[in-house]
Amino acid sequence: MTDPILEVRNLSTHFFTDDGEVKAVRGVSFSVSPGETLGIVGESGCGKSVTAMSVLGLVQRPGKVVGGEIMFKGRDLLKFTKEELRNIRGRDIAMIFQDPLSSMNPVLRVGYQIDEAMYAHDKIPKDDVKPRGIDLLRQVRVSDAERRINDFPHQFSGGMRQRAMIAMGLSNKPDLLIADEPTTALDVTVQAQILELLRDLNEQTGAAIILITHNLGVVAGLCKRVLVMYAGEIVEEGTAEQIFERPQHPYTWSLLRSVPRIDASRGHRLLSIEGLPPDLIDLPQGCKFNPRCPFRVERCFSESPPIEQVAPAQHAACWVTMERAYAEMGAGTITDTSPGAASGVHPGGRTLPVAEVQAAIGGASGD
């Protein structure tokens, strides 16, 4: 195994607001190997973007990283001065954002904005900057790049702006590219093109990618490894195959069944995860998912489950885990996670302890 380029250990980021301390990220640990594609999924407010911002030192007041270490190539970024951080950002670690229009300066030409990062970091020889700018724009498949490099951002379509943002991110040949919801503002046909582009760039340049999104399909297409976040914590981690085919945390399992799939047979009902994510100021005791979990047991209300290995390379933070829940319900092993699959296993989204789930499905119903 190669050494990870990024290793986040026990990261906690809180926001100190007038209403109280918002514990946005709590005890998050993960690592990224060179050239790896890692997906971080979760709903709004789960802490996925704050985690990324913390890595880049972009968390602003009233937010503050209150604990942990962010080791990049063996050095802790949290101990860096502002100046040292600036040398890393845009050079070794680059970030692309959800909304390409508001991330670009409307009064500067696209080419200038791509070149700016290269001039700032002195990694690319000065004479090479302009040709490289055009080359990058061509690489992200903007047609007629020689001419379009002189355009202003408003002359670009949404998809082209996101391509230009990616060109900026890649300009200094970073080791790690963090993409925060890079396709959320785009139409599906454009989204598919951008994802394909990121996939190709990962193969060609060897840059590791952290993709942050709420869209499970997008993650399945690009990422080899996936982290699932809920209420500021990582609840499950595993390879894409494990997360999508054998999820062990009830939240991951429920989420997969709550999203309509284009390839699913029709007529089934979506699983609805009742209730709302918890208030990050006033978190529930024990497991943070317990108020919405259909598989909770007594222990979930009092003790927070640690993240533990559930299979080789797969970790989950759950006292029950789906495998045990299935076994206790006599439903065999998890074979299919699409909505409507294994119907009868889940009692229609009601929040019930396992014993009642068992009763509701009549014990051993088989899968």
């Binding site: 709903e43 709004s44 379509s157 998809g159 082209m160 139409d187 599906v188 046909t189 989204q191 598919a192 093109q193 994802l195 394909e196 709420h214 869209n215 499970l216 399909g217 997008v218 993650v219 399945a220 297409g221 894409a240 195959e241 999508f244 085919e245 429920s254 989420l255 997969l256 709550s258 999203v259 309509p260 799939r261 284009i262 390839d263 699913a264 029709r266 009902r269 979506l270 699983l271 609805s272 995860i273 009742e274 709302l276 994510p277 996670t337 699409s338």
Partner: protein, 344 residues
Amino acid sequence: MTDTVVAPAARITPAVEPLLRVVNVVKYFGAGVGASVKAVDGVSFDILPGETVGLVGESGCGKSTLGRLITQLIPVTSGEVYVDGVDITKLRGENLRQQRKQLQMIFQDPYASLDPRMTVGDIIAEPLVNFKMISGRAKDARVQELLRTVGLNPYFNNRYPHEFSGGQRQRIGIARALALNPKLIICDEPVSALDVSIQAQIINLLEDLQREFALTYLFIAHDLSVVRHISNRVMVMYLGKIVEVAPSEDLYTSQEHPYTRALLSSIPVPDPRIESKRRLVELSGEIPSPLNPPSGCRFHTRCPIAQVPGVCADVEPPLELKAAGHLAACHFSDQVRTKIAVTV
């Protein structure tokens, strides 16, 4: 301008009168001297009572404009919209107001579509008060009944919108739409602003309400997975025109229009094995401007199988029946599935 097309449902079951019949509706927005944005350009379809018809397309295709034309929130440039046999584009003032009771709308943004200074009770009761249908005690009772119907605590009627989450606000918007017992509800991107785990709650609620109150939906959204899940039939729009209408069951397995096939090939599914085999149908270029749409078939500039120069650039294909209940506007629909390879 295109020919009037009769939607397939009307042909299959002529005995049932459509609840909504849209005939050759056109909407041009003025854009300076001599120019106009052809937002909706000759659209015709029927919706039968109790049906859910989905309308999908990418941003700027005219789907939201079409929804607003059907409710007459904006006037049509030409064409007719029949609701229960009455052409509401010809109605004005009080007559239009009375006819509109049957049509309600659910909006995309649950934050912008509720007045922050009104209580939830007043918001839901506003349509009832507006039509002087109810007052006093009976009004409060009806509001509480509606709150219960959409799964909210009936005693929340004195609270304000800011006290609710996005999903709860969308439930309030749905309660308001139900207040007048409408026949047709136009849902314009009702779940796209909501979080994934909340989307399923609202989709399930809409399905339950349809069963309970025999509602008819026109479900407008850009997310084809959501649209296909909830709809009986799906209409695909491109640059102001409907290019394909298909029963939801058929849409995923058989497409008669290249645009629909491209759209389907770009929707990611949460399954890494399928994703690794995905082949994207590359559409060349960008969506053309609706100010000056391409000649002939509007999709010919991006179509992988278009004959240009030739019939695709010269002749506009009519929306016609290709299979049972399945309409498409393409000269070469028989080649769509053989010539455009995807994994789906």
